[in-house]
Structures are given as structure tokens and as C-alpha cells.
Point group: D2
Chain length 370, copies 4
């Protein structure tokens, strides 16, 4: 029997007493921890009605809880508040209003703001702020300086946004200036529905932290078909502890991978460890008979992987790309002919993880042992 | 290739020029017109951050556009504004803020408010108001009187809500009083995720307009799995013209049917006409051979129907319930034996429309001619 | 990027060499083991082209693998073979043809057949047969006797099927006779899309094993929307070992629960243990402040549960039914007033598990400790 | 209330009488007719248990009915019958067995077979055969000659299949020979899950009919997530009449477009007409105020379209790609500045239809008038 889902209702304390709010269900989205680190799913770029977003701060926490995130930062535009005739302009309010709900649901909440300027330097997020309002300065240079004073982690948002760079994606002198002064620590290689390969290349070249965020203004459930497994872009953070400080350290130390539209982007060292934690192989002894070897490959994670057999694997008859869906197992067999049938020990065959990138256009390699 | 959907983005007029907002796609949800009337999909009970809802008024219009609705009323609590320290308390603002978006997307927007009192008389919505703020009176009787002065259509909300009637669903003298004074015109038989059979019975008995509304506080896309065909509760209105006045006349004249969780509830005269407009039958001459007669039944609407063969149809071999999904065609055959094979003309067989109710527990009957 | 899924392709051994078949992915459908037993998902009623099913035996194994099942029995009609002019009539062939694929994918395959007779006694499945063909006898009594000789587990199929009992659901003397002779061990309380409460009652009364099976003739993926979480009916078996013998012992010892359309049906002792294995509770210390107590309830299984607060829980403000979806966590809070706030230790509150039945119409009770 | 769907059940004529089979629902998949032609959705490459497919011929008709197709050809391998020890080897049987069901459900059924040879010339389908068995010849040349004698339409299957061309996609002299002798009329540019750009180029260059087919061996519902809108590959045929002859004429006259994984491939003349029939534009007078012009664009078809604004449209502020989902409407606005605001008449702006290709890598262009 189909049931009605009670997602959100509200305590009418003035008029009624005793009713307790529910916040829907948190659907498990497994991205496993890696040895030595907590794997945290984060979104560091989120708006509310306190700038030009369309929802109340608490809803951002509930959305994150439901989607399986661990960490969010609310980062309203500091200089752009189109609803100011109806909504409080104090930009510390979104954090204050959402803090209790975050505590209750176990979501780590980070106070931040978006420094919203013309290009250059464009838009940048400052996280871990004490007082967002103090970044509302006349000159953009002063806003960055203030953010640095507050110990913020600062990153360049949507560097390829056509509204600011219609025909180009340029790194300006202003960005080099910020970088040199320790006022630029990361860069969004993914924002909303866009991926910027040029920004990915810059990040690797200039040693910046990789970020991918939703920049959500409307609602998550309206933009992403959660029921069919779609997710917002996420920055996956490898933190030594599950605290705001753990997240901050990880960001400054560049321990991140970006998840976007089913793809992963990251430095090879982290992507390799993440893929290893997500998957497992098991020899299928029963089916490894005669001249056949059979292996079960399991994906424990909520990420669909796509494997393309390398040249050698194709030689053994694996000619098609292979889907390894989330929370699933596949069986792979190779056929040994003549001499190969006599091979002792396992046969390692190379595969390309087609949806995990260690640099623009460069996918991760992996090995399956038959 | 999968594409990224651009649902909502925003004009940064202060900082950038020329960008135009998109509002996502309006997915066709066909509930056909019936002869002489426009069939309008309406939600007359909606909250925003101006009371205890969690979204901005314009988002309510975009949600309605995307889900295929024609009419919405924003009805914030008049006496209950938990966000008042951060949000304007003028209850005419939600309508004013959303009016342009509604005009642009062709959504009819109705100004209203929710008179939010203890039971009795509980909560009631007043629609077609000129000035919502004037209903913020000390005594509830004055609020209803003011609504009547403004020519409002008034209905009792969620009469079986457990927060106000934990163990009962009672009609109070106060409701009779309102009814007698022309201050109560309709009743929600469906609210949010609940259906109240008792209210359906009252409506038929006391001649009240039937309503079913979402009472949405959070977001539609979070509560209803739109991608899988789920919808919010709707009041289906049969209007002589596609205008706010057309809607008002229809409500006062009780031309409504309620759609909720795949079921329809309504007076028989309207439900019959609606079902007739949604479906069609066609003799399948090619397959009507020998002692077999075959019919194609098509559902042109976005509503799934469920048909249960009557006793006579079962005698012809139709022993299972039949699904007639939205936008689909099914083929039905009966087998004629002996004398029946010689029948001239078509054979009318009765079916029960299992998900359309003309009274509590009483489904609609229909006929298919073989 | 969306990828093409390679589900099934085939070795053209005559014409090409080296190509190896893939069988799609097995999506994890977690129904946890209970202490002392393996929890196995089984379908004991399946047809192929060797009687009136529409698919080849190997496809039945692949379907089971993909849907997450552990055990299937192919049970073609022994006396009804409409495709006999084109297909081999040897009813041991389906098992023989599917055995290799089952071995490879780790599916336990049981040889069986459906004794297909007029009512009484109607249709019955015999499992664990050595030679199906020998049950093709003139008199139905001989078929049962032969099944018993082969040591079969025998159960009555779809006792309420309208084709055989259009207006009734009767237990005939013939069934008592079979029961008394040890030729009737179980009964389908669920078949295909139907649930028979009367059969559930008989099973409890006459001490029969509970079964629920698909009776699939077409294809699983066509009938069940797997992508949206729908599943075929299953008999959940609690086996001491993951072998055909383990399954056989469990069936004879009545260690089963039936899963159908999101609901569970079973003897209380097994249902209680299963629900306990599927769910967990954790005190939410951070949110249990002042006069509030908060608990996280997690559903580790692939079954959606629905909890209805009991009277006492409603008194603490939990007035709505609660969804506890598969692989999800919900947060529940109660509000303590006056004396209650001073309560030492946890407060146990009763809930009804609305979709788990220990007898017809009688749901399972459970307790959550706040 | 959720209902059980009755998709397939079966007439037990021997044992029971009067029961009539149902075949599930045909979900509307609208691809509109174009002026002068019926637009027919076809799959010309399908297997059954009579070669190495895994389902019975009638199920192929039911699958096509449910998915909204109009025409199918059953094309079992002529020289490859792995199930021959259990299944009749007469290759005219699949057509004979499925013909009644096709008649009943209104599906046009074409008799065919797959000439299954080593490369060159590889595999080819021959449609509109009278006697499939006569193509089972020792030499492949004789099989083609026989097909021609029977008036067949012949096309090359999966020319880029890695099992036959692991590292190459070559056009052999044998293919030129067939072409010159009038024994090769078309080519699959799409087969199963693969698209072959090289074959698309050859088809345009050598004047061959474009085909895209499923080559289904398992089941459609298992391979394509129909509930989420996925579809098998289809050859869209523009026929002067809705008959087998109409289809044959259209194929010989190259009136086809290929639909695959959400993309369209075809000659520009047909693709342009198809896109025009699928979509409509309407000026939104109410929202075209001041310096803004607004247009509603509606997609009447079941195909999702993706539009990319051209340079000029970007200059008016349309910087993002636009989704125009199936059965949906979007609103598009442009902003006029200075002189532009004074423009008389409508402003035509170019867009690229990103998922419709008139040659390999070359998308269709279209115009929207603001």
C-alpha cells in the first residue's frame, strides 16, 4: 500500500503546543571513508532569501539532511540583496537561524558569504567567517583583506560563467595578486550545472583546492531529480575529524574531490584512494572453470562507475564498456585460449574508469585481477 | 546525451545587465476541459516565508507552472508569523511580490489569507481578498465578518487535523453559525496528505464546495515525487472563463472535484463528465472475430484510472482489475459463448472506476460497450 | 554523462570466438540476516517457454540475479504445454538449461513443476523434484503421490484465483485429504498481484508454510518497475545454510515471511526478528536538550516501513504516521511537559508497523525508546 | 491508492474457459505525423528463442505495443540457432506465431531474417521475406541473391561491432559489390547501445537508408528503463500509408530518421520537418512589455530537445543551454536595449538543436521568433 510521506510540518507554538516538527528522511548516499579520513559530502555555495535565494535558511539544512550531505555553507551575496525591502539585511542571520536545525540533524554548518563583484575578480566565497557584514566594503580589495583577517578560506566562484566572461575564460592579474597575498585558496571547477576544464587545469598548476558546489538559489528537489538518483554537485572532503575544524583543515590542505553529474574530478592520489574504497573484487571460484576465469566486482558506493576494458582485456573478449552501478555487483569473465589457459596466478587487466578524471580529459586507470 | 537542466537563475541587474531569468519547464498534465467549461487545476492553500512557509512567493508561482497548475492562492497565516523579526509582516506583500511572475507564466493568482484560530472554528481560508491585513482582528468573529465584507469565498481547512481534533472530527455549533451567516462556503475534504471522509459527507449534506489543497509549507518538489508522476492535492475547478472571476464564480457554484494521491472525489454530475472527457472507447474491428469482441480504451488524461469489471463482465472472462494508466491505451476482449455469439449490436458491460468517489466509500460506475 | 548499459549479449561460438556474455548488474536489495539464519529472497513459482511462460530458462536466472534474489524454482505446468509443437516437452530441460547460469551467478536453482488441475485441488507446486516428467499422470492423486515419493515440498497455489473460484475462496475436502497424507506443506498467501487473507488465516490455523511467489509468465522487468523500487512477490526464507538443502529444511520447518507490494506477512516470531534486524535506534544526545528527547531511527533494509504512533506517542506530539524509507534515517522528537521532563531513563513508546502483518489485518507492534 | 498492474495473463483453454488475455497498457509516445506522411516508430532487428533471443515471439509484439511502437520485424539468425535441440528450427515460425497478437494490437509485423556471416560482409537483415528458410545457404552470396529474389529490403547490421571489427570500421569490397548488385539498401548507424558515425557518413555518401534498431536478445524492459522515459533505438519511418507496403516503400525511398538514446540522426530535409511537427511557438503578449519580448515554446512530442542559443541570442541575454523536455512548455524572454527596443516586427534568433544531427557531429539549426 502506498503511504503518504510526512516530510515537513511545523510547530504552532503560539496556538498549539506539543507538536514536534519532522524533517523527512535522510536517504543513505554512501561514499565510503578512506583510510585515515572521514569522507564528507559538502556544498559550500548556497543562497537564501537573505540575498537572492528563494528559500528560508532552515530549509537548506533539511535539504542537505535529506540528500545525505554532511556539511553546508550558507553564502549569501554580501553586496546584492534584492529582497531587502522585505527581509532583514543582516547577513549573519541565515547562519543563526539555521544553526539549531543543523545541530539537531547532525549537519555541520559553516558561516560564509559571497563577495559579489564585477570581473575581475568576479565572485568569490569566503568561508569560516565570524561576521559576514564586515565584508560589505566599498572596494573589493578591502573585502578580501577582511576575509583574510577573519581567517577565511577563500575560493573563486564559477570562473567560466558566461555572464561575466561570455566568450572567454581568463585568469586575470587580479587573481594572481590575490593568490600571492594568500587571499585565494581554491577554485570552483564545477558550479551549478557547469564544469570548467580550464579551472581544473589552473587548480592543478597553481596548487589550488578543487571545489564543486550547487550555487543553489531555488530548491534542490526542483533542480535535481533525487528520486532517480540525481544529486547536486558536491565537494567531497577528506577530513581527519568530523568537525568544522576538520573541514577547514582539509580545505586548506587541498584534500578534496569534486562530484558532479555522476562524474568525479580530483587529484590522482585522492581519486585512487576513493575508488579503492568504493569498490571490491572477489574471485568467483565456482564459475572459474576450464579455460574461463570469473570475477565479481562490487560497487559499495552510491556513485555509478563506468569501466572501459583496456586493449589487453579486449583481447580476452571484454569488448564492451561496463556499467558498475551504485550498490551493485557485476560478474566479469574472460576466456583463456591455448597458453593463457595454463597461466598460474591471477591475470591483471587494465580498465579505464571513464567517469573519474585526474586532469581535464584524463580518466583514472584501474586494474581488475582475473 | 544527458543534459543539465537550467531551472532557475536570476537577473543580477545591479551588477550585470541583459540576463533573463528562466523558470524551468511546464510539464503537460492533461485534465481535459468538459463541454461548456474550462477545467482548471488549482491549489487554494499555500504558505510562504511571510508566515511559516519556507519559500519566497515567486517560487510558489514557478512551482505551480512547472507542475501544470492553472491557479494558486497564497494564504499565509494572518495571526501567526514566526519569522516576523526578519520578514515584513504586511500580508499583502506575498501577492504583490508574486503577481508579475504569475502574469508572465500565465498562472492565475488569488489573494488570500488563512484565519488561524483555535478550534472551534479552527483554521479557515478566505480567498479573493482586497486587504488581508484587515482580517487580523482580536475576535475570530470579526475576521470572518471582514472577509465577508470583502466578498471572500471562505472555507474550513483540514477539519480532521489531529492537532486540533486528536480523537474526533466534530462539526461545531460555531460552524453552523458561520454557515447560516453566509461566512462558510466550502470545506477541505483533503489537506496536505490527509483525506477526511467525514468532511466529504458534510459537504454533500450541507451543500458546501469541495476543496483539496496542498497547505504547502516546504517545497512541492521535496514532498511530491513529480518525476514519478506524484502530484500535490488539487481542487479541479470547472470555470466558464479562464479568469480569476471565472474561478470565483465556479467556487461559489460548487463546480469542483478534488484530486488527491491518484484519487478523485466529487459530486456525481461533475465526476461523470470529467471521466467522460478523460477517456474514449474504440471498437477493434480487426480483433473482433469469431466469438470474440475487442475494444481499445484510451485514457487521454494525466490521471491513472483503475477499473474493476462488474459481475456481468466477469462472466465474459474479465476477472482481473484493469489499470488504465495516464496517456495510455488498453485492449479489452470478451469471449462470447453459444447464444451470446449471436448477439446483435454492442454489449454494454458495467465497470467500477475504483479511484473516483461520488460519496465516501462509493465509487463511480461506468460502462464499456463491446 | 549518461552511459549505455550493457545488460545482455551473447557468445556466438560458432561464428566468433572469445566473446563472453555479461548478465547486467545485481542491484543490492538488503534484507539482513537474523541471528542464526541466512535471510534468503526466494521465488518458488516461475514459468518458461517449456509451458506457457514467454521466456527462456536462463533469463529467469538473470532476472533473479539482477533483482537481488537468492533462490528460484522453475515450475512449469506439467499438464499444460501450449507451445509443444515448437518446444521440447521434457520438463526437466528448463532446470538443465538454467543450471550453469545459476552456478555462475550464485543463484540457488530448485527443480520443480506445477501440478495443474481443476479445482479441487486446483494448482500446486512440487519443489525439489528429481524427475518432473513422472508427475504427468492421469489422476491428480497419483501426481501428488509421485511428488511425495520424490521427497517434494508441496504447496497450494493461488487458492483464491477467480478463474477457479470466481465467487468463493473455499478449502475443499481434497485439501484436507492431502494435508492428512503429508502431501500439502504450504500455501501461497500471495500470488502474482493478489493477496489472499483467507489463505493466511488457514496457514496459521492448519500450520502450513507461508509462501508468496510471482507466478511470472512474462518478464519481471515488464511487470515490476524495478527502477522505482518495485519488486516481485518473494518468499523470505530463514535458512541455516545457503544451500538448496538449507532452503528445503527451512520450508518444511515453516521459517518464512512473505514480501509483497511493500508489505510483509508472517508469523509474529519471525516478523519480529526480521524487523529488528532491519532497523536500529540511536539516541540523539545533541538534540535531546531541555524538555525534548530526540532519536534517530535507521532502516538498513531495502523495505520501506511505515510507523503509526500509538496513543501514548501521540500524547507526546507525534500525531502523524511516519515513513521510514529503505536505506534511510529519520529523526523523531518528543516534547516533555512538566513532570515528564523529570523522567529518568528512556521513555518507551509504542508504534504500529503498518505494513507488517502477523495475521490477516493484524499489524506488528514495536517500541521506540526516547 | 496504488494498484496492482495486470500486464500479462493467459488463457488456459484446456483447463478453463472464458479467460481472455490482457497485454498491459500502450503508453502514448508521441512523435507527430509530418505533412503528407504517417510517422511510424519501427524496430527492424529483433531476436526470439528461434535463434539466440530469450523470449517468445508474441512477447516481442507485446513489448512493442507497450512501448508505443508501430512496426517490428522479427529477424532471427538464419545460420545460428543455439537452442535447436529444444526449439523448432523453422524460421518462418516466429512470424506465424506472432501474427495474431500483432493483428489484435494493431502492430505491423514484418517477416525477416538475419544473414549471419563472418566479416566481410558480416551480418545483414533481409526484410519482407516470404520464406526465411530459403536463405540458409552454404555461400553468403547465395543468401543475398535469394533475398533479392524475394524482393527483400536488405541492410548491413552493426558495421562497427567490435566482435567483427575490433580495431577498425571498414567498408569492404564485398559491400560495394552488394551495393552495385542492388543487394544492399540500408545500413544501421545505430545498433543496440552503439552509434557508428562512420556508417552515418557512408549512408549519406553512398545514398543508403539510415536505420537504428535494438537488436534485442533479452527483454526491452530489462535493458531500457521505460518508466523513466528511456526507449529502445528506433527507425522512424515516414510512410504514405500505415501498412506493411507503406513501410516498405518508405524504406526503399530512404524516408527515415534514427532515434537513439534521446538523439535524432537523419537527413536534413526529414529532420527539419520532424522537428517542426514536434514543436510550436507562441508569442506571450502579456509578458512582452516595455523592453522585453517573451515567447512560449512547446514540445508536443515525447522526445526531449536541447537548444543552445546562437551568438545573437546570447547577445540578448540567453546565455544558458535550454532544455525543452517532452510534453512541456518553456518561456523564453529577451531584453531589448536602446535601438533594439524600437524594432518593429519579430526578431528571429538562431538556436542549435543539440540532440538532432544532420551529419556526423553536425547538429540541426532552428529559429525562434521573439
Amino acid at each position: 500500500m502506498k503511504r503518504k510521506i510526512i516530510l515537513l510540518f511545523f510547530v504552532f507554538t503560539g496556538l498549539f503546543t506539543g507538536l514536534i516538527a519532522q524533517d523527512g528522511a535522510r536517504r543513505n548516499f554512501n561514499i565510503p571513508d578512506i583510510p585515515g579520513y572521514h569522507t564528507l559530502k559538502c556544498d559550500f555555495h548556497i543562497h537564501t532569501v537573505f540575498s537572492d535565494g528563494l528559500v528560508w535558511p532552515t530549509l537548506r539544512v533539511v535539504e542537505a539532511w535529506q540528500e545525505g550531505l554532511d556539511v553546508i555553507a550558507i553564502t549569501d551575496h554580501i553586496e546584492y540583496k534584492p529582497f531587502k525591502s522585505d527581509v532583514n539585511t543582516d547577513l549573519n542571520r541565515p547562519y543563526q537561524l539555521a544553526a539549531d536545525k543543523a545541530e539537531k540533524l547532525g549537519i555541520l554548518l559553516i558561516q560564509g558569504g559571497e563577495i559579489t563583484r564585477r570581473m575581475p575578480p568576479g565572485h568569490s566565497n569566503a568561508l569560516f567567517l565570524d561576521d559576514v557584514n564586515r565584508l560589505d566594503t566599498a572596494k573589493w580589495e578591502d573585502a578580501f583583506a577582511e576575509a583574510k583577517r577573519q581567517g577565511a578560506f577563500i575560493f573563486w566562484n564559477h570562473p567560466g560563467w558566461k555572464a561575466q566572461q561570455p566568450d572567454t575564460i581568463l585568469w586575470f592579474d587580479e587573481h594572481s595578486g590575490l593568490l600571492n597575498q594568500g587571499m585565494l585558496h581554491g577554485i570552483e571547477i564545477v558550479n551549478y550545472k557547469e564544469y570548467y576544464p580550464a579551472a581544473f587545469a589552473w587548480a592543478l598548476e597553481k596548487d589550488l583546492t578543487l571545489l564543486g558546489n550547487s550555487d543553489i538559489h531555488g530548491t534542490i528537489a526542483q533542480e535535481y531529480n533525487l528520486a532517480q538518483g540525481e544529486k547536486r554537485p558536491m565537494t567531497i572532503v577528506f577530513a581527519r575529524e568530523r568537525t568544522v575544524k576538520g573541514v577547514k583543515d582539509a580545505l586548506f590542505e587541498k584534500r578534496t574531490v569534486v562530484y558532479f553529474d555522476g562524474d568525479l574530478y580530483g587529484r590522482e592520489e585522492w581519486l585512487k584512494r576513493l575508488f579503492a574504497a568504493c569498490t571490491g573484487q572477489e574471485n568467483n571460484a565456482r564459475a572459474s572453470v576450464n579455460n574461463r576465469r570469473s570475477v565479481f566486482v562490487t560497487n559499495y558506493s552510491g556513485i555509478d562507475f563506468h569501466l572501459v576494458p583496456g586493449k589487453e582485456a579486449q583481447g580476452y573478449g571484454l569488448i564492451y564498456p561496463l556499467d558498475l552501478p551504485a550498490y551493485s555487483t557485476i560478474e566479469l569473465s574472460i576466456k583463456l585460449n591455448g597458453d593463457a589457459a595454463a597461466v598460474q596466478g591471477s591475470i591483471p587487466l587494465g580498465f579505464v574508469v571513464e567517469n573519474a578524471f585526474i586532469a581535464p580529459g584524463k580518466p583514472l586507470n584501474t586494474t581488475i585481477r582475473f
